[in-house]
Amino acid sequence: MSKPTALSIGIQRGGLEIRQFMRQRESVVFTMLFPLILLAIFGSVFSNQIAEGVTFSQYFVAGMIASGLVNTGFQQLAIMIPMERDFGTLKRLRGTPMPASSYFIGKSILVMLSMLVQVFLLLTAGVAFFGVNLPTSADKWLILLALLVIGSACSTILGIAFSNVPKTGRGASAVVSPVVIVLQFFSGVFFIFTDLPQWMQQVAAIFPLKWMTQGARSVFLPDSFAAQEVAGSWETGRTFAIIGAWLVVGIIWAIRSFKWERQ
């Protein structure tokens, strides 16, 4: 038999990852349904218009899509990988001829699929129950697509890199979730970003979630709203530059820090 390639093994691993994910019902429900519950709560509590023709739900859906990138990539992997490290999964894989890249390809497939399902559910629920308007121009859809691909890649690699921070699998959720929740508050997911205190805005601007959120707003909010952003424009170029920079940081960080064994 000829030797399979890293890519073909990676795709097989992706299928396996998805199968394992689907069999953990609690985590399927938590990962997929929780954002919908939040959308329902926030959409019902804040039914006001925040600007001409812009409902809070519209603003919030943009934030939740950006959060979805962080939840399905960063949060999911930074919790899952330490558990696999504790269980001995990673060490066992290291002892086989499986190329290391196949493992990461498998994880990326899992993230990509859960991200797409998440975005689809948010948009469907938003349109069906909260009067959310979908973008109408091809340009906006293209920006959304680019944001999902690059944002998800960035989130995935940062999750892999951060997986070395929690010391145990058991404690991973307690380390990772607060980071995500604080970033969500700071980045204008739950509140209007420009209503936040200056220092909070400045801290948020260092991290990619703020830019993912802003990028999603540029897709879902009318261009007239751009004037109300911090810079008075969508800053699309800067948005992608900063997310891209974090992607590069994540790659270097992950290569340097990734451990196959519990220390």
């Binding site: 038999m1 000829s2 399979p4 396996l16 199968r19 953990q24 269980f87 060490k91 086989t96 001829p97």
Partner: protein, 284 residues
């Protein structure tokens, strides 16, 4: 017989702790070799260096002619020829036995048939059971299946039968002997002395990071020539005597009792006695 594993002057320390302090080993093709030693003796560190999981400080190590410390694609080709059964793992709980084994088969150039391997380790009836529903012993057999699926030439087994019932252990031993008969070389670490005695062609005792002795289980620690203990019952008391010449002692007892000696037994030191004496002696 060609040498499959060779270790010379191996050293490894963790800070001030010299975990492995000059280990030498030669293991031939087709041999079952057991490494015995108390916890913290350097057993796991030695084996993990051979498996390529740990780097060494100094010394020469070759497994199948390859230095396990090498990284990159050459290491991948080498990993294709070895099989590792780690100490207890609890991964892949959400996959069935068949899914796990058939997936691992895809990592190797020349895998065995997944279904055959599952039958071989005695999990035939559990082929569609999820990993998390298996008992401890069944999990261990799954670990073994994953370790041998790639038709390895060298198999590392770390405490393989922990949690097995006696029947499962015997079945496991015959599985290991079959793999050896097919030409595999097996390096085994175990806490069970009877396991080493039943399986191993040779055993090495390691303590304080050094090999104390390498021998066959029968000859280890001068076992064959050690004093025998003769025990019998006399005047309502159990009496025993250590002797270099137990036969003479028994015939002496026999004439004293004019025939049958009550509750007579003659015992040589077990491997366990010898082993405990060796590591106890080394601790002093």
């Amino acid at each position: 017989m060609s040498t499959v594993i060779s270790v010379a002057g191996l050293k490894k320390s963790y800070g001030a702790n010299q975990a492995v302090n000059g280990v030498d080993l030669q293991i031939s093709q087709g041999e079952i070799f057991a490494l015995l030693g108390p916890n913290g003796a350097g057993k796991t560190t030695t084996v993990e260096i051979l498996e390529g999981f740990r780097d060494r400080d100094s010394g020469e190590v070759k497994v199948l002619g390859f230095d396990p410390a090498t990284k990159g694609s050459a290491a991948q080709a080498w990993r294709d020829r070895i099989g590792i059964v780690l100490q207890s793992t609890e991964d892949a709980g959400d996959l069935t036995v068949y899914e796990s084994v058939s997936h691992f088969a895809k990592y190797y150039k020349n895998p065995k048939d997944p279904r055959e391997v599952i039958d071989l380790v005695g999990l035939g009836e559990k082929v569609d059971a999820l990993g998390r529903t298996l008992s401890g012993g069944q999990r261990r057999r799954l670990d073994v299946a994953l370790g041998i699926i790639g038709s390895p030439e060298v198999i590392f087994l770390d405490e393989p039968t922990t949690g097995f019932d006696p029947e499962a252990r015997r079945a496991f031993w015959s599985l290991i002997r079959n793999l050896r008969d097919e030409g595999a070389t097996i390096l085994l670490t175990t806490h069970y002395l009877d396991e080493a005695e039943a399986l191993a062609d040779r055993v090495a005792v390691i303590n304080h990071g050094q090999i104390i002795e390498v021998s066959t289980p029968e000859l280890l620690g001068g076992r064959a020539t050690s004093l025998a203990t003769v025990t019998w019952r006399e005047d309502g008391l159990t009496k025993s005597e250590k002797s270099e010449n137990p036969t003479a002692l028994v015939s002496q007892l026999s004439s004293r009792f004019k025939g049958e000696v009550p509750e007579l037994s003659v015992k040589r030191a077990s491997l366990e006695d010898i082993y405990l004496e060796m590591i106890g002696g080394a601790n002093e």
